[in-house]
Subunit: 337 residues, 2 copies
């Protein structure tokens, strides 16, 4: 039987791990990520020994509908950054939608052109059936990548409903990727992501309608109340790399704007103040679904009573929540995998 590490063992081991991480050890990186992903007992000590989230390097968020070419864009952007000698850590978040699974996998493979390069690290994460657990895991992998000395971090999420807006909690700069036609731009205007994105990319800009899409976005942006930052619209062909240096210029311009607003640490604090409740909500959902996966004893009984009309949907839901709260959640170690 494996012995659990004592707190003192852990602290020594974690210190050594963080030091190895800092020196660029890939093995340490893999191990640290395993600790946070598996809710290892050493996880809390590790997170406390890593750089604070306020001190993480610049984080770029990339979002857009499935098929907008986000992964190849990330690949191209990573290429530009590598050319400048910058080390890039990438977290690709799959909300694990059955609708997009195939396309996402294809995108991942296209992006793997960087796998032989030690200056690029790509981690793909999925919710594996536990909605809500992703936000926590993403945060912690970002902290690990920060501890491993990457210069720029990129988070990519598929923009389906709320995940699209959730990228705000991570990213210093949010990039929305749209494609010509397809209604992406109009939908973006409606969905609220327009208020969130700092840079717009019209990807596949060699397709017909790219100019129209770009001007639709610009028009919509002009209708907003004036703000300190006027989001640029950057045409890109990510498969050839055209426009990608201009995208990096736009990102740097936004970074400069954040600097004027007090720097990363200050703007991050303000963002988290506004979003701690959302982050906690994700965590709570993760706990609840972990609880449900254990098929609580009340489950079948509730469904039977619901079927017989002896309880109502809302009362049944309430009862299930009561049972969860009385169980006081599961131990955190069962929370997210």
């Amino acid at each position: 039987m494996e012995q659990r590490p004592t707190p003192t063992d852990s602290q020594g081991e974690v210190r050594a791990l963080v030091e190895a991480l800092r020196q660029g050890s890939r093995r340490a990186l893999a191990r640290a990520i395993t600790y946070v992903e598996n809710y290892d007992p050493r996880r809390t000590a590790l997170l406390q020994a890593l750089p604070a989230a306020t001190d993480l390097p610049y984080i770029v968020g990339i979002t857009g509908t499935p098929g907008a070419g986000k992964s190849s864009l990330m690949g191209a952007l990573a290429g530009v950054l590598r050319h400048q000698g910058r080390r890039v850590g990438i977290v690709a978040v799959d909300p694990d939608s059955p609708l997009t699974g195939g396309a996402v996998l294809g995108d991942r493979i296209r992006m793997l052109q960087h796998t032989d390069d030690d200056g690029v690290y790509i981690r793909s994460m999925s919710s594996r059936g536990n909605p809500g657990g992703l936000a926590r895991a993403t945060w912690e992998v970002l902290q690990v990548l920060g501890g491993a000395g990457f210069d720029v971090l990129i988070v990519e999420t598929t923009g389906v409903g709320q995940t699209e807006l959730a990228i705000r909690q991570f990213a210093d700069t949010v990039v929305l990727v749209v494609t010509p036609g397809g209604g992406d731009s109009i939908q973006a205007i409606k969905s609220g992501i327009m208020e969130v994105a700092h840079v717009f990319v019209v990807n596949k800009a060699d397709l017909p309608g790219a100019d129209i899409t770009a001007s639709q976005i610009r028009q919509a942006l002009h209708l907003r109340p004036a703000q300190d930052w006027q989001p640029p619209v950057v045409p890109v062909i990510s498969t050839t790399g055209e426009g990608v240096p201009a995208l990096w210029d736009a990102l740097q311009a936004h970074y400069g704007q954040l600097d004027k607003a007090g720097g990363l640490a200050v703007v991050r604090r303000d963002r988290w103040h506004a979003q701690l409740s959302l982050m906690a909500e994700s965590e709570l959902r993760a706990r609840f679904y972990a609880y449900l996966r254990h098929r609580p004893p009340t489950w079948d009984h509730l469904l039977q009573r619901l079927s017989r009309g002896e309880t109502s949907p809302s009362l049944a839901a309430e009862e299930l929540v009561e049972h969860f709260l009385q169980a006081n959640g599961l131990p955190a170690s069962d929370g997210i995998h």
Copy 2:
């Protein structure tokens, strides 16, 4: 000081209320809705005395993006049903998005043409800042309307992200309303609502592009695996009422299909089995946000520690959830208003 009703008082009063409701009293209807909305102590007894959710009348769900004309469509549909002597109960759910507030209010006013008619009852509900509480309240208002003898119930939600899919838990037939152009149809195909809707309405069918939109939807439907029910695409001009009788025919056809599948009670049971966890998740979120509204004592301290880099976003979120779970949720009466 007002005295709390004892359980015995409650039972007598609730029985009388349910009887008055059954006989068509508008005052009883208003009072019963107040009980469920305000989490009155008599709420549980009331819900248990009302018809079981399996026995509710036919429930039609209407969803679509803001501006698709859902409210005027509901108004026109209610008109057709009134003409046939059917009594119609309507629940209009506003997810309370600041982006759509104005438009929704305007829609509501246009719909109020039926307010003088005793055979139509319209209840507008918003989340009032408590996401998650709406699903419970909607369920319970539907049960009250069922107890008041309405023949058809209609639930309308604005299709923004997840709410669009949540309508499945309520509705026997889901109607997706799209408009010509605007990318609605393409977005519907991407978002997953395509898999959920039983009837498609192309509203504002007098606008250019209506035929193209209808055929885009039909094409996308043909790409799906064959199913027992082939969703019709109905062109409607809800401001003039054109196409609305055809929509009612389509709804009745789907109702007939549900009958073949075992009738409302059976299909509802199957639906709830699949969705109890989602319903409970809504309830849990409602409890959590009610807890946060009370500004738990840890809140400011957590934000300070987060600001100082003494904790990380994920650890702070985890701590907040722990505090919520230890408080064992709030009393349900504080849950949702």
